[in-house]
Amino acid sequence: MKNRSTTLAADGLTLLAGVMMAVSIYLVFQYVPTERVQGVVQRIFYFHVPAAWSAFTGFFVVAVASAFFLWRGGRRADLVAHAAAEVGLLFCTMVLVTGPMWARPVWGVWWTWDPRLTMTLVLWTIYATYLVLRMVGRDDPLVARYAAVLGIVGAAVIPFIILAVRLWHSIHPAVISAPKGQGGLGDRRMVQTLVFCGLTFLTLFGCLLWRRFRIRQLAEEIADLRDELEKQEGRRAP
């Protein structure tokens, strides 16, 4: 019974994310006015920034779930951390893909070593490593512990990465140092669209997180059942 209601809630969340995404697309292409200086390309901003919010949420969830797992234990916290890293990395990739698509027409370059870009790239590598560690250690019962250590140390180091990259930037002037979009949200409709898209992406994040978490949980249940079955058959065979 409980399973059924959680499935229903998950389906509801997926449906909600779908509807919100459709509305977001309408808002981005129809409702919001075109930005005066950057032109139509600025519309990517309404997906770029919410994707970044979701990515950071994901990395935050990894750190919290990892800490919870190390100090309190429990399979669930570990599964949540793993799922959050996957989904967070997905959104972070989206940020890194949409960024250059926006930068090229506006700044004239695909990439610049602006602190925010550099930091996003470094964050991406931390969580990509996290998933590599999980993959390499798939059969190792200790990998959950190792991944949690990485999740926590990673989160502790992030402020220093930001600090160092800012300091570094101050000696490496960027190609173009115009502030990214955010200064120019003059129109109320722009703010509305951004907030709505932000909520949409967070809903999508929650939905994907839940799905990944459930898939891993079910996979573990299946593995347990299979072990059980093999044990029983082994008992019967001789």
Binding site: V122, I126, V136, Y146, I161
Partner: protein, 229 residues
């Protein structure tokens, strides 16, 4: 009680460190291979770069050589414990895992510091660098960079040593989190090697000290988590 516990931990740390130094002194494996590797990496750089241009790349050569040779060297601290069940023997000793971490880190720091001094001498020899503006600060920056690298890589080599693809995994684990050390160490080294510059390196040194502290505290606090089986 805390004072007594602390003095016990310090003497345990010294015993563990001395053990590793003895092993190294008798076999001379780690340092000799590390030094040959350093020479080879510098040699590769000299072929790839025009020696005259090498000067401006000196900070980059210094730290890239240090990091990549160091990544291979630090694994050894835990690899030597794998033989004959030494690792389990070590865990059975009445010693906190945090103390084992600090001892391994100190050992790695010493090896890397010796290697770094040789590396610096070779750089000066091969690239005819100008003298550093303030030799004391220059050495301090180097030692802070080594301490950051040693503390972070010791923690993660404790993890990677027990995985299948350990040679591949350690750089992946260490390099992203080492970014603050790389940025600060390279920038400070470059500033100090530039005779025309009058800039200070206080900001870089401050960040280096802070991040070293974070790495060491993290390793010290979390190391017992990765020794549990």
């Amino acid at each position: 009680m805390p004072a007594q516990a602390r003095s016990r931990a310090v003497s345990a740390l010294w015993v563990l460190l001395r053990k590793d130094l003895y092993i190294e002194f008798r076999t001379k494996e780690a340092l000799s291979s590390l030094l040959v590797l350093i020479i080879l990496i510098i040699l590769t750089f000299t072929f790839a770069l025009d020696p005259a241009a090498g000067r401006s790349f000196a900070p980059a050569i210094l730290w890239v050589t240090f990091i990549f040779s160091g990544l291979l060297a630090v694994q050894r601290a835990f690899v030597i414990e794998r033989e004959n069940g030494c690792w389990h023997g070590l865990l059975l000793c009445p010693v906190e895992p945090a103390t084992i971490y600090l001892a391994k880190m100190a050992g790695n720091f010493l090896f890397l510091a010796v290697a770094q001094l040789v590396l610096l001498a070779l750089l000066w020899l091969f690239f005819r660098l100008p003298p550093a503006r303030s030799p004391a600060t220059f050495l301090a920056v180097n030692f802070l960079g080594i301490a950051g690298f040693a503390s972070l890589s010791t923690l993660f080599s404790g993890i990677s040593v027990r995985m299948r693809a350990r040679e591949m995994l350690l750089p992946l684990l260490v390099l992203p989190l080492l970014v603050p050390v790389v940025v600060c160490a390279v920038a400070a080294t470059r500033t100090l090697l530039d005779p025309a510059s009058a800039e200070g390196v206080a900001n870089w040194v401050r960040v280096l000290i802070a991040i070293d502290a974070i790495y060491i505290v993290a390793g010290w606090a979390i190391f017992d988590q990765i020794t549990q089986e």
